[in-house]
Symmetry: C2
Subunit: 347 residues, 2 copies
DNA sequence: TTGTAGGCGTTATCAT
DNA sequence: ATGATAACGCCTACAA
């Protein structure tokens, strides 16, 4: 084949779909003009824009995100790292993220760390290798290596679900310590004296709630290590019964429990019903997160309402603001929590 | 700049990360050899493989998925379309998908259709534009357009969560009609006569459960349209109380309810407790899905256990089999369901 | 505002 | 088994 040979090679590899070149040809412009018209119409004159739009529609053209990412070394992807997909807390947060993104150009690349810092590190490397537009990661307890990876990443990063004063970049969440403390103080004020803590999984956020619980009890000189009953097992409603049994075995005069989360609280309530323990008279129950079922349970269950959906939305807003070059009000956002006092803690 | 100019251009655009060319240079081979060694080591001699592996480790090389996708017109991505991220049913399924994929090369691109066929169609187009390695979609009720898109897609496709005899490609799930029928027959056999149906959201799967319920009651000559109480509102535990109230207002002698799902069943239970309606004596309750909380509730709640996690795993297995060219046992897999009879339906 | 030239990192094709 | 070359589809840099 000579160098002047202009004939088409017989074999092509293409996808068969129309490319930007096809659109350009049909519209009678250069490819780059089509590219610009699609990314920022204001860069192209109205006439050409119209012709290009027509051609796009006519051919059913859709840009190839891979080619785009390769050429611009920037993927229209936000990496999202959560410890669990089934935990409703994170499911709600992820829903907030999706909702706020709407049908914009940004895609989500989700990673499930399974509460493992090592897995988080692995996923982080994998995500970073795609040069994402932004990263949203759960928690503030990354490994040193992960933290360094994040610090050297040149994209907006939002840590979510917790409150802290030293984020890698931005942060939106609330204080689990304060949440645990507020719940416990409420139980103390309601007149309970032997207040237990029941917790499962005991991830960093649970640990902070426990610390808040302990702080409140210590201040009231009510703390006793025997009051704390935890397991590393993942939380489930059905874990409430055995954990309550353990707690009662250690502290016979237990009169209240602050549960790690609402699932356990619900399990404790059922076990109390089954064992004939009067709630809230003989036993107060307080949960955490305030799922929908808490206010309809019988008796209704006190819980700490957490802004998980809002955290998802807000994290995306912060990302979009940064990507658009808009000023950020504050890189650290505390969305707070709200104690919902109900029948289960009203002696 | 002359054509012979070999000097480096001042401005480079690269990502700064090592490329396959860097590895090739260090290993003293051609880039394509590195490419082959990485994708299928058996294509390269042991010696070169060793040298290449060394170079890869030394440079910390990781292939660029975008470049790979562009060159091969095939992304290492599985598109997953679900109607909801927070509905535990789909969350469990998605977890199964992630678990089965493990840390293999395939990524997941998740789409949330919000139970909207139009949104499903939009997402489908978007996904298809990335030339995914496979597609996993919920349900069998796609729009005609969506179905055509799927049929012309040249990748494995698995429809999940339902049973049907006419999948686009492959299918794994169970029959919601049969599930609803089995639950209702159980209530009939347990001696209940005024058996209501309570349902929220009423998506296609709920409709099929309702159809199964109706079929069972009609066979027993027990059907009465007044027994059916539904709403299009998304399901929540707190919807159980008002729906039960509606049902009782229409049918004063209602003695059992088959709920659309476990959330509603739980809400109904709480409402019965609150209203002093004895379960199961005056009112039987049966749910659907058999979430963990059902067997610990007081009284424990009868439900239909559904294999949602297993559906997720199996769908991925089918995809991987197909991608690897392994034979598929059957393109249609019925994973069944299992009625869990408990206190709430034992008069 | 529009266009030209070339590169982004990888793999398909064809040759050896 | 290995390599040279040319895509893949788009975008950045620079020029006009």
């Amino acid at each position: 084949m000579t160098s002047k040979d202009q004939s088409r090679k017989a074999s092509r590899r293409g996808s068969g779909r129309p490319t930007i070149a096809d659109v350009a040809k049909l519209a009678g412009v250069a490819a780059i003009t089509v590219s610009r018209a699609l990314r920022d119409p204001s860069l192209v004159s109205a006439e050409l824009r119209a012709e290009i739009d027509t051609a796009v529609v006519q051919l059913g053209y859709a840009p190839d995100p891979n080619a785009r990412a390769l050429a611009s070394s920037r993927a229209d992807v936000i990496g999202v790292l959560v410890p669990s997909l089934t935990n409703i807390v994170f499911a709600d947060t992820v829903r907030g993220i999706y909702d706020e993104l709407g049908d914009g150009p940004l895609q989500i690349q989700m990673g499930n760390t399974h509460y493992s810092p090592r897995e988080e590190e692995r996923l982080m490397r994998m995500f970073l290798s795609q040069r994402p537009s932004a990263l949203i990661v759960s928690g503030i307890d990354q490994t040193e290596t992960t933290r360094k990876l994040l610090e050297s990443a040149d994209c907006p990063i939002v840590q979510i679900m917790e409150y802290g004063d030293d984020p890698v970049d931005m942060l939106v969440g609330f204080s689990h310590f304060d949440g645990g403390k507020a719940a416990t103080n409420h139980l103390i004020e309601a007149g309970y004296r032997r207040i237990g803590f029941i917790g499962a999984r005991m991830d960093p956020r649970s640990q902070r709630r426990l610390a808040g619980y302990r702080s409140a009890l210590e201040t009231a000189q009510l703390f006793d290590p025997k009051l704390v009953t935890t397991t590393l097992t993942p939380s489930r409603v059905s874990l409430g019964a055995p954990l309550l049994a353990d707690a009662l075995a250690k502290v016979a005069d237990l009169d209240a429990v602050f549960c790690n989360n609402d699932d356990l609280a619900m399990g404790v309530l059922f076990e109390c019903q089954r064992a004939g323990i009067a709630v809230p008279h003989s036993m107060a129950i307080c949960g955490f997160n305030d799922l929908d079922m808490m206010h309809v349970a019988y008796p209704s269950l006190t819980s700490v309402r957490t802004p998980r959906y809002e955290i998802g939305r807000r994290s995306v807003q912060m990302v979009l603001d940064r990507l658009a070059g808009r000023p950020i009000e504050s890189p650290i956002v505390d969305l707070g929590f709200e104690l919902q006092v109900r029948e289960s803690t009203a002696r």
